[in-house]
């Protein structure tokens, strides 16, 4: 067990990678065995993530050096700079990996019957596991170049999965847009990595954070990083590809794409708070993030109100919700240099933003899954053509209601607890942020109610006489996420104390992250 915990960071990356390439081999023998294999390997990954999370909570940052005689030997004997590839897991990384493991397990279970009628299922699951592996790598890596590599792995497999149903023209277009945006974003990241490497001769985030000077080139690199990750998360005005790619993907993949955009958000936080943490001009960058976050909130929800395509409508809401997280964490960044303000409201604002990531990661995939369930039998994503589906799809209806109440921030559901944390803390920074947040929340509730009415309520339509409840595996996947929502609803303070505050503290103070690799700071 001790060895398992020591090697957990690399195992969490390696198990999905190996499983990805074993999947088609097992699939040649039997598709049932393949499905069981995919689910079991993901369950084992979830188990490893939770053991690692417990270990990080007790023993602090977990450093894993690849190729060293002992995994904690981050500096080779006689060296003062780290030269090996290092995986570094702190409170923030572990928080995101918990979300990613749970949602990817739910997405894999959901896919079992959602894509049951498609061809090429072996390749679907291979790509899905590769995407899981890319996401974990992105969260755990302590090395800028590996950040780029894992970002590309997640993007390539994600784009291929969006375009998986090749018989439709719109899936190809959505996948193409996604890969173009990802390719440009990751090349910008690579360029920025080159700028930093050229000056400091290192790729290790912890070492770079120690020696960084904030020269003109560093500012250019910071701008490139932020634009690239903002593009990948779908921040307004770089959001135009976002609903196109999200609405055409299979619903299980859309759920996972939500979390990849959170993973890119994680990378942006890591760059701002850890890499540039000691030198960054925090108020300026913070205000830039807050202003674009407000725009994201508002534009996302106003675009969502008049959408007729159920998945597209939910994608615009995903954009709008991402704005809350940017605003919450942006307020924390804006007051980063001032310990007093951090203590009064900065830490709470960041905790609210991070808590909202967790909540969003539960209810948004759930809503996308219910949207996929509607599409599964009706064959259309057009809300105006649906109606009366609550008569046949009772589980889906109940789960949709849970998701809707949660995303609109209706007390006592989990969306409310993170939103109230954001509202109360950012109000002290600037009241206009809270006012916008509440208006956006009202518009969210209004549009979800409208969508609920047109899809589920009313008399049974004659063309959907044959519709029945979706297959069991899709229900199980949705119930996993709904159980997550209900758990967070019942124990919000437990979640905040055990996962959210360590994550926020890891952002506020980058010193433990740095000294875990480079030793004590002189």
């Amino acid at each position: 067990m001790a060895a398992l915990i020591t090697h957990a960071p690399i195992l969490i990356i390696a198990i999905p990678l190996l499983a990805a390439f074993l999947t088609p081999l097992i699939g040649m023998a039997s598709s049932k065995a393949r499905n069981a294999f995919v689910v079991v390997s993901l369950i084992f990954t979830v188990f490893l993530v939770f053991t690692l999370a417990k270990d990080v909570a007790i023993n602090g940052i977990h450093v894993y050096t690849l190729g060293a005689a002992s995994p904690d030997l981050s500096l080779p004997t006689g060296f003062i700079v780290p030269v090996r590839i290092i995986l570094e897991v702190d409170g923030m990384a572990v928080f995101f990996s918990i979300i990613w493991s749970v949602v990817s397990l739910a997405a894999a279970i959901y896919s079992l019957s959602h894509i049951a009628s498609e061809t090429g299922q072996n390749r679907f699951f291979t790509l899905l596991l590769l995407m899981v592996m890319g996401g974990f790598g992105l969260m755990f890596t302590g090395d800028l170049f590996n950040l780029f590599v894992f970002l590309e792995i997640a993007s390539i497999s994600g784009a291929a999965l969006i375009a998986y149903r090749t018989k439709f023209a719109d899936t190809q277009e959505g996948g193409f847009k996604y890969i173009v945006v990802s390719a440009i974003a990751s090349l910008m990241v690579l360029f920025a990595v080159g700028l930093l490497y050229g000056q400091y001769n290192s790729l290790n985030i912890a070492y770079l954070a120690q020696v960084i000077q904030y020269t003109m080139l560093d500012k250019i690199a910071l701008a490139l990083f932020l634009i690239a990750f903002a593009m990948k998360t779908g921040m307004v005005p770089l959001h135009l590809w976002f609903p196109d790619a999200y609405s055409v993907a299979p619903a299980s993949i859309t759920g996972m794409l939500v979390i990849t955009s959170h993973a890119c958000m994680y990378a942006a936080f890591r760059i701002c708070f850890t890499l540039y943490g000691s030198v960054i001009n925090a108020p300026v960058v913070g205000w830039i993030i807050i202003i674009f976050g407000l725009l994201t909130m508002f534009v996302g929800v106003t675009m969502a109100v008049y959408q007729k395509d159920v998945m597209r409508f939910m994608s615009y809401h995903a954009i709008s919700q991402l704005g809350y997280m940017w605003v919450g964490v942006g307020v924390g960044l804006a007051v980063l240099g001032n310990p007093e303000l951090i203590a009064t409201y900065g830490r709470d604002a960041m905790s609210g933003g991070i808590f909202h990531i967790l909540n969003h990661a539960m209810y948004k995939p759930l809503l996308f899954f219910t949207g996929g369930a509607l599409f599964h039998y009706t064959g259309t994503r057009d809300l105006t053509k649906m109606g009366g589906l609550a008569h046949k799809m009772k589980w889906t209806t109940i789960l949709y209601i849970i998701g809707t109440l949660s995303i609109s921030g209706i007390p006592p559901l989990n969306g409310f607890s993170s939103k109230i944390l954001i509202y109360e803390s950012v109000y002290q920074f600037h009241p206009i942020l809270t006012i916008t947040g509440i208006i956006v929340s009202i518009l969210t509730l209004a549009s979800f109610t409208k969508a609920f009415h047109s899809a589920f309520m009313g008399a049974e339509l004659p063309e959907y006489k044959g519709v029945k409840e979706v297959p069991r595996s899709m229900i199980i996947a949705m119930v996993i996420l709904a159980a997550g929502i209900i758990f967070i609803t019942l124990f919000p303070s437990l979640i905040v104390d055990s996962t959210i505050h360590p994550a926020a503290d890891a952002l506020i103070d980058p010193k433990p992250y740095i000294s875990a690799v480079t030793g004590a700071i002189p």
Partner: protein, 118 residues
């Protein structure tokens, strides 16, 4: 010959490639040209990485029979190789998608082959 070329010349070339490729990506409507723009962007970034690793008069980091003098750190070359491999995969995937878009819509113009709007 190498000593006659100013050392920052490759950086200017890389900057020029990146600039032209952004122009292509933003303003060209043909999807194949868009892909060519991304390929150029990748080449520009790769050229930048390789020129970062160049040290005048350095030796290759091969440890047998090493001559006197400075040895070149091989990290930028390794980065470039990895990045080239990744970009081949990205470009291949993009081209397959463009082929499928052309089959479905009969057009490579990004204005005409659009299905998703609003």
């Amino acid at each position: 010959m190498m000593e006659h070329i100013p050392l920052d010349f490759p950086f200017l070339a890389a900057a020029l490639l990146v600039g032209i490729s952004f122009y292509i990506i933003i303003f060209k409507k043909n999807l194949i040209k868009l892909i060519m723009g991304i390929a150029m962007l990748a080449s520009g970034v790769n050229l930048f990485l390789v020129s970062l690793g160049y040290r005048a008069g350095g030796n290759a980091p091969i440890y047998t029979d090493v001559p006197e003098g400075t040895m070149v750190m091989s990290v930028p070359q390794a980065l470039t190789l990895t990045s080239i491999v990744i970009n081949v995969a990205v470009l291949a995937l993009m081209l397959t998608m463009v082929i499928r878009i052309y089959r479905h819509t009969g057009s490579l113009d990004s204005e005409k082959s659009r299905k998703l709007k609003g």
